[in-house]
């Protein structure tokens, strides 16, 4: 199944935009997440015509977005703020906000572990996460268990 970029692409992009923004913000710095977002969209645009429908469209979108994001994180960028600093203060100045704590936790993860947690946060079922990453659902479950345990231990039970 080949898809015409002119017809289906704007609708697909509008549906995917919130998730793409969330992913871009977690893989790029404050100054360059919009560049990463544009890069993700460009890759989607260039590949949209060859999307063959073997995977769900949302699976394909997450694959392209994550593959682009992981290429992006190899480029030089300003260092993250120390995890402890973010965790103590919170990005919005509201200590205890779960999303601030989660952002700090995500910033401290390696890009691959971050991808597993981000896909779970996006609400993808295990099987679809496995399909995006090319792993088995079992492997995804193991990683998710560890990540949640680390998240709870490091931030919520302190």
């Amino acid at each position: 199944m080949h898809t015409d970029p002119e017809s289906g692409f704007p609708r697909m992009l509008e549906q995917s935009r919130p998730a793409l923004v969330r992913l871009a913000r977690r893989y790029a710095g404050v100054d360059d997440w919009q560049d990463l977002l544009q890069e993700m969209c460009l890759q989607l645009w260039r590949s949209f015509g060859s999307f063959d429908g073997r995977a769900q469209q949302s699976t394909w979108v997450y694959r392209v977005a994550l593959n682009t994001a992981l290429s992006h994180v190899r480029r030089p960028r300003p260092p993250h703020r120390p995890l402890e600093e973010i965790a103590e203060r919170g990005d919005s100045g509201q200590p205890g906000d779960p999303l601030d704590v989660l952002d700090a936790f995500l910033a401290g993860l390696d890009p691959l572990a971050r991808s597993v947690l981000l896909l779970d946060l996006e609400g993808l079922p295990r099987e679809q996460i496995a399909d995006v990453l090319g792993l088995t659902p079992n492997a995804v479950a193991i990683r998710m268990t560890r990540l949640r345990q680390a998240f709870e231990t490091r931030f919520l039970e302190d």
Binding site: L20, R63, L70, L121, A139, A141, T145
Partner: protein, 204 residues
Amino acid sequence: MDWDRIRNEWRQQPAEQGAIAIDALRHRDEALARQVRSRDRIETVAAVVVGLAFTAIGVVAVRAGAWLEVMFAAWLVAWAISVPVWLRRGRAPSLQADPGLPLLQHLQCRRDLALAQARMLERAWLWYVAPAMVGLAGMTLAASGPTPGALGYIGICVALGVAIAWWSRSVARTRFRRHADELQQQIETLAVDAEQVPTSRPSP
């Protein structure tokens, strides 16, 4: 900790920023395609210019009956034509990493691509430097004999060739092999859990 609540809050984050214009995407895509076409055109034009130059030298040599020079001129024409072919083979579409592949496969493709580019650079002495050196040295000696000037010219060419070969190997090692190693580490990190059995069931 209520993970479902965190997940819901996560997905309700505002995404009003990050406007995406389809026209801008189209223009960037076209600009990238133009860059690729321009690079291919430059490589082709360079090959044609070098090829024509040695063809002209070959024609003059034919008229003079200098058959050894003709042979080396033909050799250099063949070399000039082969260089863009080698370059395009190194960038073959079959080696490009489709961004729509699962992450693990995509990383493997990118690693394979990095290794292919590293190998191409490591062998630059074989497909780029050595044939040119053989052709230039042979043609110079055939035309002038082993005069000090000819030997000096050949020495300069060989030094330049060695420098190009060294630089190519250095780029292969410091850029492409290192990148392939980084990708291999990511692949191993990602794949390692697939071999393991879960010790506890994850919460739903």
